[in-house]
Each structure stands twice: as C-alpha cells, then as structure tokens.
Symmetry: C2
Subunit: 218 residues, 2 copies
C-alpha cells in the first residue's frame, strides 16, 4: 500500500517518462509537482528502496515494472473517476481534474472493478486519454497532433495534450470536443497557425493550440 505522496510521485514520473528519452530528472519532477528538488531526491531514494524506481545518484530515475504498474493503477482510477464525473454527474470536462486528483487515492480494488463495470468499461476518459486496464496496460492509439496535419487533411479530435480549464473552455467556445470532425483549410509556415473547418464554421488556430490537440486521421 502506498501513501498519497508516494502515489503522486509515481504518477508524475510515469507521465514524465512518456515524453522524455532516458531517465527522468530530479528538477523536472520538482517542477511538475510544485515542490523542491531536495524533497524529490528524498522521495526518489525512498521509492527506489521500495523497488518502484531504479535510480543512480545524479543520473535521473526510471520506473521499474512494479512501479509502472502501480502508477498505471493510479492513473486508471483517476480516469475512471473522470468518466463518472462527466457521464453520470454531468460535470463539464474542464471541472473534473482536481476532484479526480483526490478520488484517485481511494484504496479499494472492488470499488474500481464495480465502477468500471458501472461505467460500461470505458476505454478513454473525457479528455480522450486512454484508461489503463486492470494490469496497467494501455491500448496505444495512433493519434497525432493537429499541428502535424497538412492542408486538406481531415481528422477527428480524439484528445487534448494540455488540460487546463482555459484551454478546454477555449475549445468549447469553438464547439471542439472529443469526436469533433475537422478539416485543415490552410497552414501558415511562418508561424505554424492554421485555418480549420468545423461543421460550417471556419477558425483561425494558433500553433500553440494545434500542438495541444490530438486528432486521428481518417
């Protein structure tokens, strides 16, 4: 059984591993968790002793198989609760993160088994992120960033990279949500901005936005 703090570290390292080649640095963990590097060192050493991380001083850290499975379990819970909050309690997708952040630490196998069933064994959370299965395995999808598309390509929005309220509300204002079909009408090489078509509407999309929206090309 892991403490709240331990679970949060494992979860964060799991996420950081995904977009980092090699080990995860102490500072990057401290940044993500809004804590100090010295605190990170302490916890990383503790988790390494517990066999959750492999760690060499000054060389960064990586999850062990056990650590990755534990982290995936926390993320599974987080994402299932998000589905519950949106599908059943009718929260908006930009309101659920903080609450799921608490709910993910409830300890009960049986609870999650039943919640999963109750929700109809969903594969993705409300932001389009995949929900790991019981064993911590994640179906990997071949989604790409909107910014990787070129003129005239069509795609379906399947997720967001950034999950801040600001960004999600920005998308809502333009009626972009999971499942939205869109077409790239034009792309500016100068600043990476795009013009896209959504339904009957056309929007200007900044590079930053295009780099935070995942699409699946059809």
């Amino acid at each position: 059984m892991f403490s709240l703090a331990e679970e949060n570290y494992l979860k964060t390292i799991y996420h950081l591993e995904q977009d980092t080649k090699g080990g995860v640095s102490t500072n990057s963990i401290a940044d993500k968790m809004d804590t100090k590097p010295s605190s990170v060192t302490d916890m990383v050493q503790k988790l390494a002793e517990k066999g959750m991380l492999s760690y060499k001083k000054y060389k960064g850290t990586t999850l062990t198989t056990k650590g990755r499975k534990t982290a995936a379990g926390v993320i599974r819970k987080h994402r299932l609760w998000e589905v519950f909050l949106v599908d059943k309690l009718k929260f908006h997708w930009d309101e659920v993160h903080e609450i799921a952040e608490q709910l993910e630490h409830i300890h009960s196998e049986e609870l999650i088994t039943r919640l999963d069933k109750y929700l109809g064994h969903p594969d993705f959370d409300p932001h389009g992120d995949p929900i790991p299965d019981k064993n911590g395995n994640v179906k990997k999808t071949e989604k790409k960033l909107l910014s990787e598309l070129t003129k005239k390509q069509k795609g379906v929005c399947v997720g967001v990279k950034e999950t801040s309220s600001e960004f999600l509300q920005y998308l809502d204002k333009r009626n972009i949500t999971i499942g939205t079909k869109l077409t790239v009408l034009g792309k500016e090489f100068f600043d990476g901005s795009m013009i896209i078509q959504v339904g009957r509407d056309q929007f200007f999309i900044s590079k930053k936005t295009a780099e935070n929206l995942y699409v699946q090309t059809t």
Copy 2:
C-alpha cells in the same frame, strides 16, 4: 479546510455526543478512534483553539455550533457515498463502510451537491441512518429499539445501531433489512430475548440483537 485527522475527530465526537450526557471524555474518544488518550488531548486542544470544540482541562469536550456543522458535513458525505455504493454500484450494505470512510474526506461542495441530486436527494443511508442536509440539520425520526417493543406490537425495521459486517450478515441470513415488517410474538423477561415473526418465518432474537435494531411502530 480541515485535515483528514481533524475531520475524523470531529465526526467521532459528534457520534459520541449523541449517546452521552454532558461532555465527551478523552478516553471515550481514544477508544472509538483506536488511538491513545495523549494523542486525543493534543488534537482536542488544537480543535478547541480553532473554535470547533469547547474544552476545559479534565472536563471533557463538546462541539461548538461550527464544529457540529462541520462534523455533520462529513457525515453527510459519508452517508451519501454509502447510498451511491449500494444503489448504483450494487455493493452489499455490509461492505460499504470502509470505502465511505475514505470517500467522506473528498473536498468539493459541487461534487456533493451533484451526487445528492444524482441519488435523488435520499433522506437515509443504507443502514437507515438519516443524511444531514446541506446545513447540517438532521430530520429526527421517532424510531425506537426493537427491544422496547412488547408482545404483539408490530414494527418496520428502519435502521441498525451496530453496523459490523457480522451483525449485518446475521440479519441478512434472516431476511431482515431496511423496510422489513416484523411482529413481536413473545418476549422473555428473564433474558430479554424475543420471538419475532418476519413474513412466514419465526425467529428467536437475543437481547443484544433486539438492542441494535431500530424499528418504527405502525
């Protein structure tokens, strides 16, 4: 905002106040919480400084109005989550306590407002205990213990005093649950035991059982 430990103390003191005249003693709190009296003294003094308890050394403690409201809020959450677990996730009523014990500490007004609505604004939890409203007020019901009934009186089971798995499973084996109608066929003054009728079946009920089952006379 209160810590998990603080909320648990307030909740426990709330419950102890109900069946105690005068202040709640340090030892009784320690017993209920499975902790040491010295730890209780520390926390009680801390909560008194925060205005949640009124406390005089060696004289026991009582909740202030603010303290009582906070405690009722925690209990409200606990009981709403129990309804969720039983009604929606199909847990059995003897399995939900530990989980609700964790869920009651999730901090989010909005979550509880929506959960309450989702569950249809229930007034009682699966054990028949009343759910405090938003302001911490509890509808008091005129339930009595089965042991207070006399021969030939009829009643409807509306709750249990003891909530251990053992007791709840014992009741289940006899098909006694919330809403069950029963009739006292006989009562033994010697040991307080009873014979009761439930449907077509007749049972022998010990004094201890009769003292832990709440009924409403009709």
